[in-house]
Assembly symmetry: C2
Homo-oligomer: 257 residues x 2
């Protein structure tokens, strides 16, 4: 860590007024100089979406005293891109933290999560980045037991940096009885969709996306296991999606048949 | 491949009327029984977004003779989820192909691409899945030189299957003088954003997202290199994002300081 206070970009996907980002911002204010850039409306499930078909708004707001804050009309990834380009203007922050998400982003949820995609975008920009999420989907979620661990993890990342092209996916169980921090791998799981079909007043059908989380992994080294056993799960995440182990198999194929 | 004709799900992100999906559909009709499920409007840059805050529409349409087609109001990933759950109803297709995208999805673009995220979702559903993209961003793109290779790659995937939890990201150079197919890794690159700031009639500023592709990789085993040298690039893609190589480093940290 530098001698001067680090600059910390705080983002989320639940929107700038979500309680989760307030807790994260307050925790980061103890560590460094905070700039908040967050969507002006909830953006859950936006994954790594960016806005290309319409223009973006970025406006300075004055919600919490003494904090530089901006609301953005775009996705969580748009927020990071705008922050880097229009607010920091090339002088990158020392840390990018995203969340605290109202709801888990463990296992396969890393793909659908706007919270995590914002952190991925931070890492693509070579900013040490961390996404934080709590196993409570309500607006009334109590984040107080997360604060100590968020502080510990952020300080370690500021001190040590992160291995190249890697970020952290941190999830918290919804209990104050936390046993500690566990470094994990992403559990193998999927959502089994169950679309809820309804009929509108004009007699046309429509669907609500719902689903059941289907765990296909009984390892005790996964994020799902850690959370089930009251640990904070920390998964190092990469954005090189190459399945290197599959390359020799594909090279053995004859495409000319 | 089974003795009976395989069932093939065709999706995209440019929308159901895009020329690219017409070429892909026509190519797949020679191989199997095709079902098309595509967004009712362009969904480029939607990444792995899903629709959770509003309901979805899924309507059968009759655009091309003799093909079962549906338009969906949601994202490319929504299309795959609805297809699996409401159209195939658990009896999964033998293959899921996405595209042909009007524009490249090589390198880091795999993260932002709705085309590739639809294929990732197919793979999460354990359906052998392939995304196809052409280096031509116009609606007038000529896909004719891609057909032969799409057919070859699809037939190989139907014959051999794909390694577990892996899909293919296939990109085509915009030339008929193709040298062959190359199995590649995802090139290390990013977009350097250059937001185009404008003032609206009400004197408020807004931004258009633009950017320059910044290649930070001079390997000759990447998809960028292959495309630059007139090869079809095939990158095996995985959706376990765990950075396994970073785990020992994180395990050496002391969080209690």
């Amino acid at each position: 860590m530098k001698n001067s206070k680090p600059t910390i970009l705080v983002v989320n996907d639940d929107g700038i007024t979500a309680p989760g980002i307030k807790t994260l911002m307050d925790t980061m204010k103890e560590i460094g100089n905070v700039v908040v850039v967050a969507p002006d409306s909830p953006q859950s499930g936006m994954g790594h979406a960016i806005t290309i078909g319409k223009p973006l708004r970025l406006d300075k707001v004055d919600i919490y005293e003494g904090v530089e804050m901006y609301k953005c009309s775009g996705t969580p990834v748009d927020c990071v891109k705008l922050a880097v380009n229009k607010i920091f203007k090339g002088k990158k922050p020392d840390l990018c933290v995203s969340g605290i998400n109202h709801g888990l982003n463990n296992s396969i949820n890393v793909l659908y999560s706007g919270t995590m995609s914002a952190a991925v975008e931070g890492a693509i920009e070579s900013i040490p980045s961390i996404g934080f999420s709590l196993d409570d989907y309500t607006l009334e979620a109590d984040f107080s037991h997360c604060v100590k661990y968020i502080r510990q993890i952020a300080l370690q990342v500021l001190k040590n940096g992160l291995p190249g092209a890697t970020l952290l996916n941190v999830n918290f169980p919804n209990t104050a009885a936390i046993k500690g921090i566990k470094i994990c791998r992403q559990a193998n799981a999927k959502w089994a969709e169950e679309f809820d079909e309804r009929i509108d007043p004009h007699k046309r059908s429509y669907y609500w996306l719902t689903g059941v989380f289907q765990l296909n992994d009984h390892g005790e080294d996964t994020d799902v296991w850690a959370l089930d056993n009251n640990y904070v799960s920390v998964v190092p995440v990469q954005f090189d999606l190459t399945a290197y182990q599959a390359m020799p198999i594909l090279n053995s194929w004859d495409f000319n048949v």
